[in-house]
Amino acid sequence: MSLTAERLDRIQPSLTIAISTVARRMIAEGKNVISLSQGEPDFDTPRNIKDAAIRAIEGGETKYTDVAGTQAVRKAVAEKFKRESGIDYKPEEIIVSTGAKQVLFNAMVATLNAGDEVIIPSPCWVSYPDIVTLADGKPVLVPCSQNNGFKLRPEDLEAAITPKTRWFMLNNPCNPTGAAYDAAELKALTDVLLRHPHVWVLTDDIYDKLAYDGFKPATIAAVEPKLKDRTLTVHGVSKSYAMTGWRIGFAGGPVPLIKAMDKLQSQSTSNPNSVAQAATVEALTGPQESIEAMRKVFEERRDLVVEALNKAPGMHCTKPEGAFYVYPSVQGCLGKTSKGGKKIETDEDFALTLLAEEGVATVHGAAFCYPGYIRISYANATDELREAMTRIQRFCQGLH
């Protein structure tokens, strides 16, 4: 019998391995590679949060906690949802997990049966369809075109819903496009969802602190309270507080769903790291100035990157509302040949050749289920970004 289970065999091997392998090799050879491929802030975790972790360690907070998180962290999360989104969750409607990824995994594995459908607007973070597949479900990708700002249109959502649909998953702001929805845009989607009471809603708001030009990302349970009892609101500290390595995500939702997720988590990992939970309490309840400082820097970088990319021949970059990514089209570059003599047929060719010839690592759009584009992360020092943009412009100018 084969070693691996069918559920694992269904997962596509990572599409980014070719690129990251080449990037690693070039770095090992001493080449100057600028990585615009990472999904984490380049900032350090704020000092008050680190200090809270150290106090927790000294205070002996090194034991098993409740599976769903300590009372303190669940209370802090409930207050966060109230304060920032106006949603009321009781502590028993909150679960804390090892990263927001585990929240998604718990929700899907706890609820999907074979053949159940999950609607995912694309471009999307590849883990969404992979997690659904792993849970025996069927991802239903709904394309969101660049000329609509990479946002889902209500009529496309309506058309994708079938009697087998179990979940609608929304990432707001979105990885990889940075597209974000305000209250009015969400209302148009929730009106559709109200007509389909069998469909549950998962909204992943992990990037919502990172929005620009005064844009306010909204969230579904706040926009349409009638959907709250079938909505799971997912968040975490990784992106807002530069705490990726601490591995803390959380969610608010109806008690039966939270309980089911708790039950699953109790059999897969138990409680998230106790020290990181204490750090999260400080992140959520302590001073919030560091977020605004990071946000401002990201906004400057976004502007810089969008402007520079739109000057690169063959590229076309939409200016997104949030997150720390842009998702330029490279369709104008396809069919051309690089200065180094490489024929560029696909977005992967583009990304690989850009890396080989100019030492800039990006991720191609196929990895986000939406080819013809590349994802550029601007979670990188501003000077490095400037240099990278110069190289991309040079690369595109060299295409013929």
């Binding site: 019998m1 070693l3 691996t4 289970a5 559920r7 694992l8 997962i11 990472q38 999904g39 984490e40 350090d44 975790t45 680190k50 972790a53 150290i54 360690i57 002996g60 907070e61 090194t62 034991k63 098993y64 090892t98 990263g99 990824k101 585990q102 995994f105 594995v109 706890a110 609820t111 049966n113 883990s127 992979d130 997690i131 792993l134 849970a135 179990r166 069998h198 549950w200 079938r230 530069a242 990726t244 390595g245 601490w246 591995r247 109806p254 039966p256 089911a260 039950k263 699953l264 109790s266 059999q267 897969s268 990992t269 138990s270 409680n271 998230p272 790291n273 106790s274 020290v275 990181a276």
Partner: protein
Amino acid sequence: MPALAQRLNRIEVAPSVAMTIKARELRAAGKPVITLTTGEPNFASPPNAIEAAHQAALAGDTKYPPQDGTRALKEAIQAKFKRDSGLDYALDEISVSNGGKQCLFNALMATVDAGDEVVIPVPSWSAYAQMAKIAEGEPVLVPCPQNNGFKPRPEDIDAAITPKTKWLILNNPNNPTGACCSAEELAAIAAVMRKHPHVWILSDDMYEHLVFDGFRHATIAQVAPDLKDRTLTVSGVSKTYAMTGWRIGFAAGPKALIKAMVNMQGQATAGVSTVGQAAATAALNGPQDGVQVQIDAYKRRRDMAVEMLNACPGIACHKPEGAFYVFPNVAGCLGKTTAGGRKLDSDRDVCLALLEEQYVATVHGAAYYMSPYLRISTATADAELEEGLRRIQTFCEGLH
């Protein structure tokens, strides 16, 4: 609420939860409850581990870690397997997870298809069977009677294996009995496994360092090197270094299996908290004398518990080789009535009556798939343990 996934409906809520809730209620009502249910050491994490966590947090080691563990921790684990068990593993044969529990979860989810069988000697930690069910497998429980020291007999394992068997899970020393197979006993099991080349072996050695009276812990990959290429060896820092809350477990096995497990984890939680990994690295590489202090304490408490329990009318307690549990037989108490007038018909009755009349919390054997027994944890301060045992004596003396 959408109906839950079938896989989740197959999981039972741990029977011990009811006892935990009852104990919490009694304590909240001001009763002097003594808890002998805990599965975690009552010691502090080692100072060098705590210091390493401080330094990691301060040094900005707070970014996404590699999904399979940091290189430093994997090297420490590699050295640990060599030092403790004479086992050679390459770094790509090692993975780090959120607790030993996630290592097991990854392994089963990555390999078990619907209907695959997982052979589990019982009494056992209930998580093994529950995880097998989440992975849509069938747990096949093999009773290990007290008159064989709660150890699996090779012929019983042989009889339990079918063409559908995917895994045999060994837990050595065992939770809840403390039983630990010697190298010779493992060799006899290995001889059976040679006849069944389609069956993989998972050895959960989480309690490996907690053995007494000069007993030498062995593990099957070491005893039977020819089985190493289908054996997964799991351990962690929780029990050895009193680091339960840090959530760090690890596994070593053939590269293809480790890769599949890392893929699985990549979709469930991604990498493990960086601060916890730094602490675990220090614990494994640093001075080991703190471990001996704990072993001495657990041995002292085991001796006291076994002696005092065997002095209780109706109780027969086997003296185990390791771990921090004893698993006394309460068959002699059944059919009797307590001082408070409660009729005892099952180990659950004994457990509840003991809690309600003497305020001593234990877990009944049914929670570990073998009745009529109680599990008593010796991870409790000496004086408290002694008082708890004295109350059990009073309880038993009052039976009529």
